[in-house]
């Protein structure tokens, strides 16, 4: 979910999703719907795994993956490097970290959409109201990380209407 958000928002991959913010970060149910379709078409498979706090799913390539990929061969080729970037840059992060990073980016893009600059302190304050469990120091660290990577626009002084969250 959060990787799809980063691909669309940061790298401009036209996935067509309409993310909205929740306490668990940007969310769009169509991402899960599409994953379900991919599973239904056997492009991916899933299995239930146990965690200390409960259970969840792990996804893996399915038996029909090549057939399904061939239907979108051009788009996949066009965005292959971008997809690799997302996995390399963020694939190792925890779910909680991805929630935090994507929430920071969402708040940044919202400031852009409102044509308002925002300071790191204000951005931190806004994010901590949504994610109160994270310390100010940790949030600021992640804001600095994203800013150094060029992923925050409002902080960099870029305000425009065509970078909606």
């Amino acid at each position: 979910m959060k990787l799809a958000y980063l691909l669309q928002t940061v790298k401009g991959v036209p996935l067509g999703y309409n993310f909205r913010l929740y306490t668990y970060g940007p969310y769009e149910s169509d991402v899960l719907n599409d994953l379900g379709q991919a599973e239904s078409m056997r492009a991916v498979g899933s299995k239930i795994v146990a965690y200390p706090s409960g259970s969840g799913y792990v996804f893996s390539p399915g038996p029909e993956r090549e057939k399904v990929k061939s239907m979108a061969r051009e788009d996949l080729a066009k965005y292959e490097n971008t997809i690799t970037w997302a996995i390399t840059e963020f694939g190792h992060r925890t779910a909680a970290d991805l929630e935090l990073l994507s929430t920071i980016i969402y708040a940044d893009r919202d400031s852009c959409e409102r044509r308002q600059r925002i300071s790191p302190d204000d951005l931190c304050r806004q994010v901590r109201e949504i994610k109160p469990r994270f310390s100010e120091e940790y949030v600021q660290q992640n804001i600095s990380f994203l800013k150094e990577k060029g992923m925050l626009l409002a902080l960099s002084g870029y305000v425009a209407s065509n970078h909606s969250p």
Binding site: T23, M41, S53, G56, I130
Partner: protein, 452 residues
């Protein structure tokens, strides 16, 4: 009472002048509802309901032209909005009662804060659909683009939530912020709009988004049951009261955000919700004839609207937009406007479905669809995908909290074999004109017989 003359549309001024003198602002009112029995509102909410922007919802049908298939489906967004407020209140009360300590510790609420949040949830739920277009979701493809300068693949259209937020911030700001009861809460119109849109400025109130727009939200609970009653089908009914009593607020593990789920004791009610969604989608919302009427409505509306799209939700555009409702569209159709599709709506001469994929198509089914599409050629008038429906059935899952001491959290699909067995619906339907059905069927047969 202050009259705001600047930038105030005429319909709002008329209401201000006619505002009643309230003898007791704490008086409660009850409205009869076929789903919930009685829905209670206070004087503040009644003032909001009386506004022209909200009364407009009486003239917007919940299910567009579904009455062409299910004649009883004549209910409107007006009563649905009241119903959503009622259900959202029940969900909120259930959470507040059972998770008060968690909310105090995690988000710093006190008693005054709880009362304020309840108001915020009620008003957001009441106004969540105030920006709907005529005939509801059928017209959503005719919203304008937010930014036409973007390339086609990156352009996004406005959604009805944008119109709702704009109406709340402008047309309803005065009645929301200046009612005497609001002196207890100091709620601002922007807070309601921010919560509705999922803006970062909503802050800790984002927690309540799951009540209004989540997997087991008040909107879904109300419309499934309401639509079921009015269409006359039983598929949409499930034990929503048990679901409300079983709702759980789940503390995020490892610093993840709070989410809404259900206790193990209530998971069968959650199963009922998901099964209701599945049946209502396949039998009502994506019924082939209902979808055909959506096609004609969209195309007829495109002819009626200046530039083929609704005005933007800003400045004078919003005033123009609020003049569009079902009555205006029906009046135009009765006058013979709307072109060929307007005529088809008036004469019940809708397109016919001539081919559809299975509900959950495989890769081979998609390939066959492509061959059928090619074979139909110029006979093909429309193609409708279930994924683009506002009611689409995808991969819903709800966290279930175990009743065992470990309080483990598991997705409903791991606990329920029924839900695990449900596949997302990815059905595609192809349509042609009634007079072309025979030829279309012949060409389709040729493809399936290997001749395509």
């Amino acid at each position: 009472m202050v009259l705001c003359i600047v930038d105030c549309p005429i319909e709002s001024i008329a209401v201000f002048r006619g505002r009643r003198t309230v003898s007791d602002p704490h008086r409660l009112y009850e409205i009869r509802c076929p789903v919930h029995g009685f829905i209670q509102i206070n004087d503040w909410e009644r003032e909001i309901v009386e506004q022209p922007a909200f009364q407009r919802l009486r003239r917007i049908r919940q299910l567009a032209w579904t009455d062409q298939v299910y004649p009883g489906a004549m209910h409107t967004r007006f009563e649905h909005s009241l119903g959503v407020m009622h259900v959202a209140t029940r969900l909120y009360e259930s959470i507040e009662t059972r998770f008060k300590e968690m909310l105090r510790k995690e988000l710093g609420f006190d008693e005054a804060g709880f009362r304020r949040e309840k108001c915020l949830v009620r008003l957001t739920a009441l106004l969540h659909d105030v920006g709907h277009a005529p005939f509801s979701h059928a017209a959503e493809e005719l919203f304008p683009f937010q930014d036409e300068s973007l390339s086609e693949d990156k352009r996004k259209r406005f959604k009805h939530e944008h119109y709702s937020a704009s109406i709340i911030r402008t047309r309803l700001r005065d009645v929301i912020e200046n009612h005497v009861l609001n002196q207890n809460y100091h709620l601002r119109a922007d807070e309601i709009a921010n919560l509705l849109e999922g803006k970062p400025q909503a802050g800790r109130a984002l927690l309540w988004r799951d009540l209004i727009s989540g997997q087991m939200d008040a909107d879904r609970i109300d419309y499934l049951i309401r639509d079921s009653i009015h269409t006359g089908v039983d598929y949409g009914k499930f034990d929503w009261r048990r679901l409300v009593n079983s709702v759980e607020l789940i503390a995020g593990v490892d610093d993840r955000g709070l989410t809404m789920g259900v206790s193990e004791g209530g998971y069968h009610a959650a199963e009922g919700l998901i099964i209701a969604r599945y049946f209502m989608f396949t039998q009502v919302y994506f019924h082939k004839t209902r979808v055909a009427y959506d096609i004609h409505l969209k195309r007829a509306l495109a002819e009626l609207l200046p530039g083929g799209v609704f005005p933007k939700p800003e400045d004078t555009g919003l005033s123009d937009y609020l003049r569009w409702d079902d009555w205006r569209v029906l009046g135009a159709l009765a006058d013979g406007k709307g072109g060929d599709h307007g005529e088809r709506l008036a004469q019940r001469n809708h397109f016919r479905e001539v081919y559809h994929t299975p509900e959950s198509p495989t890769a081979d089914d998609v390939i066959t669809l492509g061959r059928v599409r090619e074979a139909l050629g110029d006979l093909l008038q429309a193609e409708e995908l279930s994924e683009t429906s506002a009611y689409k059935f995808g991969r819903p899952d709800i966290p279930v909290v175990s009743d065992n001491p470990d309080r483990a959290v598991n997705p409903l699909s791991t606990v329920s074999s029924v839900v695990r067995g449900l596949l997302p619906v990815g059905k595609v339907m192809l349509y042609c004109r009634k007079e072309d059905v025979q030829e279309a069927e012949k060409r389709t047969q040729d493809v399936k017989g290997g001749g395509g």
